[in-house]
């Protein structure tokens, strides 16, 4: 492989990282909203949120991507394939992240909330000072895990025509007639990125543990 082709692969890996980070971020925001709706006492909020989570966790990401990619033009929205891919990845990860957050919030020890009640914290203060910080800390490992899953899942957006790492490997494999080399290099790059994410995740967990209260 010439250095120029390797540079192309690296650039494509950059695209994969940017798209993954963007969808994790958007997915986290949507996930927070969905989680709030799922924990709400109002059934008309809880029920659709449950359906959202069930659908996006129950349908293969590839099918979601194809559906969104074909549905948007059918309802009169013409968007570039990157946007369709971002919407698909974000919605999918939002469903998983909403479940992770819900797990975090429901594992906040009851005793802490009772204690907060006793010392007279308002519900908002309880949320800001007790529930949210503890729940978020409990969710960090799952978030890192989800980031790795999305990095790997982002390979599927090559199917709707986004030129990321897998698609670049596919193009170069076809034009050089060296599939073994290019797919192996792509795999190696995914491994390296995932390793970095995992290492960053354990650093973050250690930092959080140092400042932990519960």
């Amino acid at each position: 492989m010439t250095p120029r082709l390797f540079e192309l692969m690296l650039k494509a890996a950059g695209t994969t990282v940017v798209i993954s980070v963007a969808s994790i971020g958007i997915g986290l925001l949507i996930g927070i909203l969905v989680c709030a709706a799922r924990l709400s006492p109002r059934p008309w909020l809880r029920w659709p949120a449950g359906l959202f989570v069930s659908f996006f966790r129950g349908v293969p990401l590839l099918v979601q991507l194809l559906l969104i990619y074909n549905l948007l033009p059918a309802i009169g929205l013409t968007v570039p394939s990157v946007v369709a891919a971002l919407i698909g990845l974000s919605l999918c990860t939002a469903a998983y992240q909403a479940e992770n957050l819900r797990g975090g919030f429901t594992s906040v020890p009851r005793g802490l909330l009772e204690a907060a009640d006793m010392v007279g914290l308002s519900p908002w203060q309880q949320f800001r000072r007790i529930r949210a910080p503890i729940a978020l800390r409990l969710t960090v490992p799952a978030l890192v895990n989800e980031a790795i899953l999305i990095l790997k899942a982002s390979s599927l957006i090559s199917v709707v025509g986004v030129i990321e790492l897998t698609r670049t490997a596919q193009n170069l494999a076809a034009s050089t007639y060296e599939p073994l080399l290019f797919y192996a290099v792509a795999g190696g790059l995914y491994l390296a990125i995932n390793w970095l994410v995992a290492a960053g995740g354990s650093l973050a967990e250690r930092a959080l543990r140092r400042g932990r209260l519960a």
């Binding site: 349908v59 590839l62 599939p179 073994l180 795999g187």
Partner: protein, 220 residues
């Protein structure tokens, strides 16, 4: 946007044959992945050091790279090292190896979670090593890993959709082909999504029922 149900009804036989292949590949690769994963976990625990290290590396690679890249490597790269497979066997092999990597980690965690005291007690009453594995470790481990194993089976069911990319004629490939022939992508893909959704929900429910049924065997 129009939604035409006749598109779906007219293509029912093709849809059913696609579903059959999806279910067949899913069940076969889950079973092979579970067995192979068990063997890998056992070899990593009891096998010689170099073999254990090699298996660990293989598991890390399979778990750290996208399934799509693995299947491309196998299907398009295979012929260059004398491994020319048709789409269905390639998909079956690829998905089984992918499943084995995850199952081996599940089994490993399961064995580690069996209480030491149970093994020690078995040694005290004079059970042989093989008896301990067969009578204590495997049954207790099976109960412990059941939820993760069901979860993995669900992940594999969804992963079978990826095989459509290497032209395995499973549900995603056949149903989206119907969509493009009749220019009815949205109808076809909605149907596809609903089918997977139903299968995944059913599989999750079945897993819960199985856990309930088997919970009386739970002693760890």
């Amino acid at each position: 946007m129009s939604f035409d149900v006749s598109v779906i009804l007219g293509a029912l036989p093709a849809i059913l044959s696609g579903l059959q292949i999806t279910l067949g590949i899913w069940l076969a690769s889950t079973a092979m992945g579970a067995v192979l994963g068990f063997v890998v976990a056992a070899l990593r625990h009891f096998g010689p050091q170099p073999l254990a290290l090699a298996l660990r590396l293989a598991v890390e690679v399979l778990r750290g790279t996208p399934f799509l890249v693995q299947i491309f490597l196998l299907y398009f790269g295979g012929p260059f090292i004398g491994l020319s497979l048709d789409p269905v066997p390639a998909g079956l092999l690829g998905l089984s190896l992918y499943a084995a990597a995850y199952f081996s980690e599940i089994v490993r965690a399961g064995f580690a979670a069996v209480p030491r005291g149970h093994v020690e007690a078995a040694q005290c009453v004079g059970l042989s090593q093989a008896q301990i594995v067969r009578r204590i470790l495997v049954p207790e481990m099976t109960m412990l890993v059941l939820p993760q194993a069901v979860n993995m089976a669900v992940i594999l069911l969804k992963e079978t959709a990826v095989l459509s990319i290497i032209a395995v004629p499973e549900a995603t490939a056949t149903i989206s082909a119907i969509g493009s022939q009749q220019y009815a992508f949205v109808e076809a893909l909605f149907l596809l999504a609903v089918i997977y959704w139903g299968l995944v929900e059913a599989c999750g429910r079945a897993g819960q029922a199985l856990e309930c049924r088997l919970s009386k065997f739970r002693f760890a």
